[in-house]
Subunit: 281 residues, 6 copies
């Protein structure tokens, strides 16, 4: 039985299939827009999922028909005043507060990327701003046909600062496209997202996309979790390092990983055409 | 009123729309091929545009129907003798001269990339050698259907040394494609360029492509220049660094950038559906 | 006359065209699966080709209709016991043996990438596991329509450790796709491989694909080998470094390379419309 | 008034001078050896100090005459069984647990380095293992004459894994010395530590060393905290990056930092020979 | 005959020995403090020396008995108002101006490091702030006994931003010492500077130190300039890269450098005990 | 019983103590100068020692009273003509040959650094050129009082290209000193080498220095080889990476290393004051 993930307002965490968790942003009336508190919640949820032995794959999606997420709840943000800090007038001191605050939010979003288990994101409808930031942290990105993506931040006078601008240029996506959408804040379609490789699958509607995520998730959940988690780890390490360093890393990591019983069990199952069962991780 | 950009032979600089500059290579009789002096001119033009408060976006294009640019003017180069230096016989001393010369030309071309304002390049017709080098420095690449691209340098016995070979492998373009065209020096089409993501848009003809560039440019020019320039800066920084470093960079940069009045004005305009006006930068 | 490449069991090395070598994996009865000894053979072959003055381009392909390669010969591997080392019980000592062994195999495969001459890989039929690892080391990847690719390793309880996971994220291929296929071990098609840029060409069948490789190889073999080899070198260096470092590298390398007579000969041939002949390298 | 730092067993946090905090490891009967819980405590203490506006400098020292710290409490560790995990037999799963555990402890120790305020460590008597790890995270290292240092870990069959081996090679200390002491686990003296630059001051006894730390701390606490914290930040960033990246970083950071009133106040105080007062940070 | 270096106010450039240039900061009445204009002058001087074939080594020193340099002329700086920009109120726009200004000054100072010829700095008397920044760019640092060094910037509310904080942590100097002096802004002596390796020689007085610089300069000027300049280049490259990258760099650089006649001439001179003469570079 | 190391001309390999090997350069009549063949020999010897389970520490020294090594045998080199290649006239082709040759020699010397077991070098008398290159690869450097060191290469018209210029700037040695000795090729003394941290011990004469090396070697040989070799590995990795990467590396490495029985045995021996025995590695 997975751990308890109740008590996070605006998030549903369910377990649609063995070893598969689904995290749903659940604030449909506000187009699943994020408040300050929600950032901390999603960080905590993924930190917990990362080490939960009953979880091997995670699906991230949004509740409701209209939006994966509209991004930051700008109105709430402007009222909360976390950034504006009108009481501080010294520019450097204000900047220090802002740095700390950005760091905090970045850490929450990065928790999705650091989660040891693969994360499949399903986007649909409005997928703006933070929606792109979060999706950039996920391992596999698929979407519904109706998705309207936008790197929204310049529209509100900001360079996106919780990950999109750092992760997209390192994700095998055409840089001309990345700059086009980041500099104009224009909407782009599922078709365009597929063409440039931001997503690796487009499905007829949200339901079909979630269905495909579940298929992928179930497929991954049946593999050795040792192999799966090491694979995610090595790919993420390699993205940020030279090929030589990547080779060194996988060599050192595998020096213990291949001592697992899962290798033998997997091979045997392959030969015998049986379904192997793997211990939790 | 923008600064004065007259006096650069073979370049037209115009201002087709508010805050939008257009730099046109203007040597159509020679297919816009580059002489030594033109390298220095284009470097100077972009250095100046970078800090010109009346400029927020730049379009780079070529005059005439036949070519964006045929690249280096090989004949002029061979006559100028800048590289050949027949008077020096010592290999090491000759190599030192060559190193200094390459550095000089690289700096001129890199000025396009270092320009703080986004640069949209419009390619058409023959777009060879240096044309690819320059386009690789630009932020958004679009082209006309008739464009014939070629990483031309091996054809003249050279590895391209002013940027193509270093920038393409870091631009989200298929490496198999990059090597294919760089090792064979073969022509490739607009369609192929779009498919691999070297360009992010193909238009019917040069006029349509320039029109689209102007649309994009105008769209960007209406956004907060603080947000736009920071976005370009962060993406370029992130291309060359780990994701962790990119996050640190945007955090520190935004600690002053988000203190701009543009954020408030942008948000307000968003709510009130008005068009914000931003101070120069 | 090229050097002698006989004596490597399960490999044919032929010379279908001037300066073009073809390395064929030749164990069709076992779907060209690799034994331990074959790793060392392929490493040795590419080390030798790298400095062979009679070779300027290499084509890598598989014999038989059914497979480029099925990857590691799992049965042979499990019998050889190289990794299992049942005699050692101390985990750290076993891990050290494994590290050394992975390093050895990695070095063999990396020899393909380090080969100074461009390598064109032609895939067809089953192209699994090690097939992807080797292809990732090649410069130009093309395939037949019938190719069935798979990053196979998680299927046998392993994170791939001879290069795929380190090279794919740095090859301009959509990261969402990379993780999708690496985490699920699912088959993917030639069409999908082309769409994401893993291959840069798909041909009707193996014969057509080999034919195209030969065309490309012959084209490259006619260019200055100085220019071609420097181009490969700079692109590979640039993949692993910042753009600034890439520019420095090509500058230093070209300070001797452009002193070659090939530049003059190439330019002259271009003007005179003749075919230049270049000295061996 | 600084925040409350009571409630951390085995640590005293006092405020010997305005804006100066002193963290004392307080388990003298066990030579200030660290239990698992103490790691988490010291991490929490430094996280809190980092943002405490009433703190500008921190002194880290050990209670009692005999030891700064004897390092890990090996006996407690072996009983706690956190690493041994005898219930898990699969090597890979055990390795995963160990990785997570090391990460946790590393994060606790790294909190000292990440603390935004400068940390001065005072070592005396036995300063073994973890004592070196923690000192390596501190900004200024001084010690008493009687200090006996040892990179102790090989003595217990381990490569040190909470920082010493990663930080010492990047601290301007002779690598020959670093390897000598890390490979032999031999004791080294205050004199040797000073000679190679591991410490920057040796004092007659613990009292004198703490006195000097207080002098240094008081001196730093009187400077602009904006300037002091930015200085620490830039030096740490620069240690891990190229000089070019370090210059970029300080440029971006200072673009907000120099807008502080502290610059004006510092300059004015310098001219008027008065003592400036700076707002909290 | 070297080029003309007149016309730079507050700088004397002389040629005390064959191939040896001496750049003297010459504003003794103001303790050789730097105005804005002087930054640009020193940048231009070193840019010119870098390619001057009659120069092989450069000595940098200060005129007068009291100071190498007191650093930035704070009074002039505060009047010039280059940074304060009181007319701009938007924090982000002000920050942008500051960034550009710091970049400009950094480039001037970095010109000393980028100069292809070795630079020997002789410090004496007051050597504050910018004096440390400039010295950090030089290759060999020696000083007079009476030198009073200070990383001065925190004293005026600033983190040093033209190089000290980025170069010192990469110069083989004890990090504990670097942070001690950078965080306290305290004076340190020639003896301490020698002990930690910031300087590699201390001489009785300025005259003796300049004499030693001249000896070293003359010695270096007699070696092959190809060998000397390549040596400087490789060491600087290696400081910022891994050992593997450093080895690659020297390999590529030397592939042309060792083709110089200087190698043969040097070897022959060694055998025949004669003094070789080398062509200019 | 260690493996057989006979058959390498000019090298003696002996085993003065359990698990301790001593490699002696043995060409005293030529001041232990290196011929081409000797480079390959030393590379092979260290490759073999690296995996020899009967070896845990290696001492590298020179036979005879007069020299550790005079460096490259210049006369032999000039006769061998490996570099000069008078038959090739094309500069680029010659450069390619040179690059390959430097790579080969670098690999031989780097084998000392890559050797998994710690290497202690004992220098005495003349220790020139290659002597510094090899010593820079060793882990612990000690010497006799009479040692005369010289980074000799500029004396023969060369930038040192087998490691000194890349390793010294990353070895915690004063950069001002490194450049002083590398640019002047002057002799420096044991005392100076100790002061800047190039060596970590100076002994009265060669015999005493070898004695100390044997003591150190014996001490290290008694520790867990798992711990010792991991410690060397992590320090070398950390030298070339950020602290964050170093921490990641040791975490992943130790996840298998700490599962060794050596930890338990070491701890137990510590408590029981007995001498632990460790299995071979």
């Amino acid at each position: 039985m997975p751990q308890d993930y109740n008590g996070f307002e605006y998030f549903n965490v369910t377990f649609p299939s063995e070893y598969v968790a689904q995290v749903e942003v659940d604030r449909p009336k506000k187009l699943n827009a994020f408040t300050e508190a929600m950032f901390h919640s999603i960080g905590s949820i993924f930190d917990r999922l990362s080490h939960d032995p009953d979880v091997r794959v995670i699906i991230l999606s949004g509740n409701g028909d209209r939006a994966f997420t509209a991004g930051l709840d700008v109105q709430a943000a402007s009222e909360g005043g976390n950034i504006s800090n009108k009481d501080i007038t010294d520019v450097a001191r204000k900047a220090t507060r802002i740095r700390r605050h950005i760091q905090e939010i970045q850490d929450c979003v990065t928790a999705i990327e650091k989660c040891e288990k693969p994360v499949i994101v399903v986007m649909h409808g409005i997928s703006y701003g933070l929606g792109i930031d979060m999706a950039s942290c996920c391992d596999i990105r698929i979407c519904a046909k109706d998705t309207r993506f936008s790197v929204r931040e310049v529209e509100i006078g900001l360079a996106a600062d919780v990950g999109t601008l750092s992760r997209l240029p390192n994700s095998g996506v055409s840089m001309s496209f990345v700059k086009d959408v980041a500099l104009t804040a224009r909407d782009f379609s599922a078709q365009e997202a597929l063409q440039v490789g931001f997503v690796s699958g487009v499905y007829d509607d949200k339901k079909a996309a979630v269905g495909r995520a579940l298929e992928l998730g179930t497929l991954i959940a049946k593999k050795s979790p040792v192999a799966v988690q090491a694979t995610k780890d090595v790919i993420n390490f390699s993205r940020d390092h030279t090929v030589a360093d990547g080779l060194t890393y996988v060599k050192v990591l595998n020096s213990s990983m291949v001592q697992t019983k899962d290798v033998e069990d997997s091979m045997l199952a392959g030969i015998k055409k049986t379904k192997p069962t793997f211990a939790k991780l």
